[in-house]
C-alpha cells in the first residue's frame, strides 16, 4: 500500500495550559530523542546519497549524469510522467465530481475500488499487465500477430505506472470536495451557469491547492516507481530503462558513484516534492 499524505498536518498551536505542560526536562529529553530518530531514520539515508554521489569527485558525478544511457532513462521517465499525470488527473477530477456531487448506490464501493492499487504490491501491479498483454497473456497472441509489443516496451511501462499512481489525485480531491458540499455549485446553476463553466469558476478555485498537491504526489510516484516498472520493462538499456531502473543497473555493476549520482537526481525530485507540498498546504490554509 502506498501512501498519500493527508493535507492537514503539523504546526498547530495547541493552547498552552498548565496541566498539559510537561516539565522542560521531559520536553527536551523527548525532543532530543525524536531528533535523533529523525536523523537516523530519515536524514542519514538522504545524506548518504549525496556523499556517495560526490565521493569520487564532481567529474565522475557529471559524467554519470551526462552518460547517454542515463539521459535516455531521464527522457523515458519524464515522458512516462508527462502522460501518466494528466490521465490520472482527469480521472481524479471526474471521479471526485461524480462521487462528491451526487448520491448513488455503490458510492462507497467505488471509493474502495479506486484505492485498490494502493493495497496491491507494486510487483503484482506489474504482474497483472504481463498476464493481460504478455505473449502468454489474454491478448498476447493477438498482439504478437500484429507485431505490437506492450510488455518489455514503452506501453507496458506506461500502463504499470498509471496503475500504481492511479488513486493519488482522486484520493486527495474526494475528502476535500465532500467537505465543500454542493451549495456553491447549485447556486451557480440557479444563476444560469452551465457544465464545465461551473467547475472552472466555482469548484476549481476551492480545490486548486489540494488538486496541485495530488498532482505533485502522483508525479513523484510516477517518476520514482520501481517494482511495477521493473516487472514489465525488460531492462533494455537506452530503450526501456527508467531512472530508478538505471540506479539499479549501475548499482549491480558496482558503479556505486554513478548509481548514487543518478539517485541524487531522484532525491532532488523528492525534495522539490516536499517543498511544493509545504507550499500548497500553507496556501490551502489561507
Amino acid at each position: 500500500m502506498a501512501g498519500t499524505v493527508p493535507m492537514a498536518t503539523g504546526q498547530s498551536t495547541t493552547p498552552r495550559r498548565s496541566a498539559r505542560k510537561d516539565s522542560s526536562v521531559i520536553k527536551w529529553v523527548l525532543v532530543t530523542a525524536a531528533g535523533l530518530v529523525l536523523l537516523w531514520l530519515i536524514v542519514l539515508p538522504l545524506a548518504v546519497v549525496l556523499t556517495e554521489a560526490l565521493k569520487r569527485g564532481w567529474g565522475v558525478y557529471v559524467a554519470a549524469i551526462r552518460d547517454p544511457d542515463a539521459l535516455s532513462a531521464l527522457r523515458l521517465t519524464l515522458l512516462v510522467a508527462a502522460i501518466t499525470v494528466p490521465l490520472n488527473t482527469v480521472f481524479g477530477v471526474a471521479a471526485a465530481w461524480a462521487i462528491t456531487k451526487f448520491k448513488f448506490r455503490g458510492r462507497q464501493i467505488l471509493v474502495t475500488l479506486i484505492d485498490l492499487p494502493f493495497a496491491v504490491s507494486p510487483v503484482i501491479g506489474g504482474l497483472i499487465y504481463v498476464l493481460v498483454y504478455g505473449s502468454n497473456g489474454w491478448f498476447g497472441p493477438w498482439l504478437d500477430e500484429r507485431n505490437i509489443s506492450i510488455i518489455f516496451a514503452f506501453p507496458g511501462i506506461l500502463l504499470a505506472t498509471i496503475f500504481v499512481t492511479f488513486p493519488f489525485v482522486a484520493r486527495e480531491l474526494i475528502p476535500l470536495m465532500e467537505d465543500q458540499g454542493q451549495q456553491e455549485e447549485e447556486a451557480a446553476v440557479m444563476l444560469g451557469a452551465r457544465g464545465f463553466r461551473i467547475f472552472w469558476k466555482v469548484t476549481l478555485p476551492n480545490i486548486k491547492w489540494g488538486l496541485l498537491y495530488g498532482i505533485v504526489l502522483c508525479n513523484a510516484r510516477a517518476m520514482g516507481e520501481f517494482g511495477a516498472v521493473s516487472v514489465v520493462s525488460g531492462h533494455i538499456r537506452g530503450e526501456t530503462n527508467t531512472l530508478p531502473l538505471h540506479v539499479e543497473i549501475l548499482y549491480n555493476e558496482y558503479q556505486f558513484s554513478a548509481s548514487f549520482a543518478v539517485a541524487s537526481l531522484l532525491l532532488l525530485l523528492a525534495l522539490v516534492t516536499l517543498l511544493l507540498k509545504g507550499w500548497f498546504t500553507r496556501k490551502s490554509r489561507h
Binding site: 503539523g10 521531559i26 530523542a33 525524536a34 539515508p45 475500488l113 507494486p122 510487483v123 446553476v189 520501481f226
Partner: protein
C-alpha cells in the same frame, strides 16, 4: 433522462463523469486485476496448492510478514514519539522536522534501497561500526526490517498527529486536577485515545511493508529460505517465465494480507467500542 437529473439534484455532468470514471477504472485496474483472479495461466487447484505450500514460498511469506510486522511495531513506537513532539512542543527547526517526515513518501524506493544498503553494509557508515561487534545488518532480516521501518514511519506519524491535535485538553486537565501524575494521565487518559490511530498507522505500515519491493531488494541479499521476500519471489518466477507460479504466489500474498487487514479492522472497531 429528465426525471433522473432532478432526482440527483440540479448539478450537471453525472453521466459523463461517472461513465468516464467507471470506464477508466475498469481498463486500468479492474480488468487487469481480474486476470489474476480469473486464472489466466491455467492453474489447477492442485498446482496452486503445490506452489503455495512449497517450502521456499512459505519461507518467503514468513520473511515478508515477520519483517513487516516488526517494522510496523517499531514504527508505532517511534512514530508516537515523533507525533507527540511535533504536536505538543515548540522548538527551533520544527517546520523542517515536520516536512522531513514525508521524505519516505516522496523518495523513490530504489534510492532508499541503495542508500540504506550503503549505510548498513560491512563497510558502510553504521555497518562498519557494528561489524567488529559481530552484528550484521545488511543481507539479514534486520536489514529488511530497517528498510521497511523507513518506508512505514510516515504512515504512523500522519495518522497519530491529527488525533493528538484534536485531543480534548479538558480530560487531561481533569486528570491532573484529580491528582494523577503526568505519566499516569498519559497512560490512562491519552494513550487509550491514541490506540485506534496507532493501530491504523501500524496496519498501513504493515500492509505497505508486505508488498514493498524497491527498498528491500538491495539490502536483503535475496537468499532463498532466509532473506527472500514474497514480492521478490514473484519477480524471480516471472524472470523464469513461470507465470503460473508467479500468479499462485501473488494470489496467496493478496489473500493473506487481505485477511490480516480485516482482522486489524475488526480489532480496531472493538477498541473504539470499549473506548466509548
Amino acid at each position: 433522462m429528465h426525471s433522473s437529473t432532478t432526482k440527483r439534484g440540479v448539478l450537471p455532468g453525472f453521466g459523463l463523469t461517472m461513465g468516464y470514471s467507471v470506464l477508466y477504472l475498469s481498463l486500468v485496474v479492474l480488468i487487469p486485476l481480474s486476470a489474476l483472479l480469473l486464472n489466466s495461466t491455467g492453474l489447477t487447484w492442485e498446482k496452486f496448492w503445490d506452489i503455495a505450500t512449497d517450502p521456499r514460498v512459505l519461507a518467503s511469506y514468513k520473511v515478508s510478514f515477520l519483517t513487516a510486522a516488526a517494522a510496523g511495531l517499531i514504527d508505532a513506537v517511534l512514530g508516537l514519539l515523533l507525533a507527540w513532539v511535533l504536536v505538543r512542543y515548540e522548538f527551533p527547526g520544527k517546520g523542517i522536522f515536520d516536512a522531513m517526515i514525508d521524505l519516505p513518501f516522496a523518495l523513490p524506493t530504489a534510492v532508499a534501497g541503495v542508500s540504506l544498503t550503503a549505510i548498513y553494509s560491512a563497510n558502510g557508515w553504521i555497518g562498519s561500526l557494528l561489524e567488529p561487534l559481530g552484528l550484521r545488518i545488511a543481507f539479514t532480516p534486520i536489514g529488511i526490517t530497517l528498510a521497511l521501518m523507513f518506508i512505514g514511519i510516515p504512515f504512523v506519524v500522519r495518522t497519530v498527529q491529527p488525533v493528538l491535535q484534536d485531543l480534548d485538553a479538558e480530560v487531561e486537565e481533569a486528570a491532573a486536577t484529580l491528582g494523577a501524575s503526568r505519566l499516569r494521565t498519559f497512560r490512562s487518559v491519552v494513550l487509550p485515545e491514541l490506540l485506534p490511530p496507532l493501530l491504523t498507522g501500524f496496519a498501513l505500515a504493515f500492509a505497505r511493508g508486505i508488498g514493498e519491493y524497491g527498498s528491500v531488494v538491495f539490502i536483503s541479499g535475496n537468499m532463498p529460505m532466509k532473506t527472500e521476500i514474497a514480492p521478490l519471489l514473484i519477480m524471480s518466477k516471472l524472470e523464469q517465465f513461470d507465470y503460473a507460479g508467479a500468479t499462485a504466489v501473488a494470489l496467496m500474498l493478496l489473500l493473506i494480507s487481505f485477511v490480516l487487514l480485516l482482522l486489524i479492522n475488526s480489532l480496531q472497531r472493538r477498541i473504539r467500542k470499549t473506548a466509548r
